[in-house]
Symmetry: C2
Subunit: 328 residues, 2 copies
């Protein structure tokens, strides 16, 4: 059987994760890595793999079954998503929540015109966490759903700290508050504020001679990013940052509690992830959905989808018969 | 909008749970309860609800959108599943694992001939646990999946104890072994025997004058049911059994650990349920899938399905637009 040919668009952490995930899925192969840089300057981990400039993507039409878009949601995907959907099946991890309806509509239009399938907002949140919110609230109709993130590195918050004058480098961890998680698990359906649910831990390398008190104050009072949280700031050396904080762990919990029956019997549904590498795990989810996109397109379907629209069996290498026999 | 009309076939614990679940889903209504008993003798919880003898089910064709089959997997469903699939959309919780392929084939044939949709093996295991095994192994291709059940009442094991001479009544709890769960969560992918994973706790009411030592021995050495487990037996009074053991709690965990990338980064995916009432929760899952069956049939589809084949969005009362906006 011929393999599903995957194109990787953007070769950052997620792109490299997708490349690794392809190696672990025997029904797939890397068709090409697409980059904005000079292709000759990009060294990929797959021997003999093609590296192509993004301007020349259309030259690969017919050689790529699914493009996995590894660009950012802020500026890359809103443009690239619809453009590529017109020419290829695509998977992306678009996560600007407020703009999902608009993005979905734009991608849907392009994908239909191009007769392609595009699955948007794939990963773990949005993605697996969204699915678990959906399943849980469809089963326990009366109840409350809570999502906790962490402990894990937030790139957005780390970047925000790095932009403060006097900061040389920084890593920010989002940490769920144990008491809040326990309260939720108890089924009491508590009302929790932003501050109740998560704390923020910052590890900051200050520039020589910088005013640390000012930096700490600038972090803790930063609107939206930190001011609504209990935030702790630790100043460390560049060496310590490299040694202790160079991994990209993440994870979290989706918990729904609710009741059934006349007597209000309580139930707790919990989904949790504990990830050593956020980008590699995200990439593994993207690749599973790339398989689904390919299969749907082979069946003649087109248009945009989200994880909500994808029958789970489409994600697996196993046949429906195998799945029913082995894991149902 | 007209409501989805649900028929309940069999009015035991699950059937009563389905009746309660219908009350909590505003897009549904109870069409009728079908029973093998004298309908006049069956008192249902829904005022004015029809109770119809199973022999007269076909008289309700056209008045029921989905039949939820609440019979047992051993003898009821193998006959009833295909019979009803020929005439109605159906949902069942068939759980005789070894016979799923044969059962699926029989139901599929009947459902296709009748132009109906039948979703088999719905509940939490098989059901939500199966889905989580599928999602987790599709993402973490290299890894190991573990399922733990409990703490919860096993009807099959309780029944087995009740058949021992000298036993008046009994309840059996399946209990996951904490150390095994912890080992699995650590990502070490341990090889675990049946005995390592679960213990069995039995609460037994002996008949007046019965030999308790003999009963205990009969339980602990019972092939398949108990001999491969560490089993504890507690003799209690009928009053204690009623007071402390009349609920039907259950739950469990599906845990997959695996690795990604060149360096073998570790990940843990865990899904857990903690249920006050096993039959009411199972019924709530059945009803969510009844919605999906109805929608698929409205779209003109037919044949048998499992939870693996059902796009998650079909389970929700919310529209695809709402789902993308609110929980993606």
């Amino acid at each position: 059987m011929s393999k599903i040919r995957i194109g990787i668009v953007g070769y950052g952490n997620i792109g490299r994760g997708v490349e690794q995930a392809i190696k672990r899925n025997e029904d797939m192969e890397l068709a090409a890595v697409f980059t904005r840089r000079d292709p000759a300057s990009v060294k990929v981990a797959t021997e003999g793999a093609k590296v192509v400039h993004m301007d020349d993507m259309l030259s690969m039409k017919g050689d790529v079954d699914v493009m996995v878009l590894c660009g950012g949601s802020a500026t890359d995907l809103p443009v690239m998503g619809p453009e590529l959907a017109a020419n290829f099946n695509t998977i992306d991890s678009f996560d600007t929540h407020a703009k999902i309806p608009e993005y979905f509509a734009n991608v849907d239009k392009a994908a239909k015109e191009g007769n392609n399938i595009s699955i948007i907002s794939v990963g773990w949140d949005p993605g697996m966490f969204s699915l678990n919110r959906l399943y849980a609230e469809s089963i326990l109709v009366q109840g409350s759903t809570y999502t906790f993130w962490g402990k894990g590195v937030s790139q957005g918050h780390s970047d925000a700290i790095r932009r403060i004058p006097g900061v040389k480098n920084a890593i920010q961890y989002t940490v769920p508050v144990d008491e809040a998680v326990d309260q939720v698990r108890s089924g009491s359906e508590p009302k929790l504020t932003t501050r109740d649910k998560h704390t923020r831990e910052c590890y900051v390398v200050a520039q020589e001679g910088a005013n640390k008190a000012e930096i700490e104050n600038a972090i803790k009072t930063m609107p939206n990013y930190f001011d609504e949280y209990n935030t702790t700031v630790h100043f460390i050396s560049e060496e310590e940052l490299k040694r202790d904080h160079s991994k990209m762990p993440h994870g979290g919990f989706v918990i729904r509690t609710g009741e059934t029956g006349e007597e209000g019997n309580k139930h707790v549904i919990e989904y949790s992830l504990k990830l050593d590498s956020n980008p590699e795990f995200t990439a593994s989810v993207l690749i599973a959905y790339a398989r689904a996109a390919y299969r749907l397109n082979q069946k003649g379907e087109n248009g945009a989808r989200s994880v909500f629209d994808i029958a789970p069996a489409l994600l697996s290498m196993k046949t429906p018969e195998q799945l029913r026999k082995e894991i149902l």
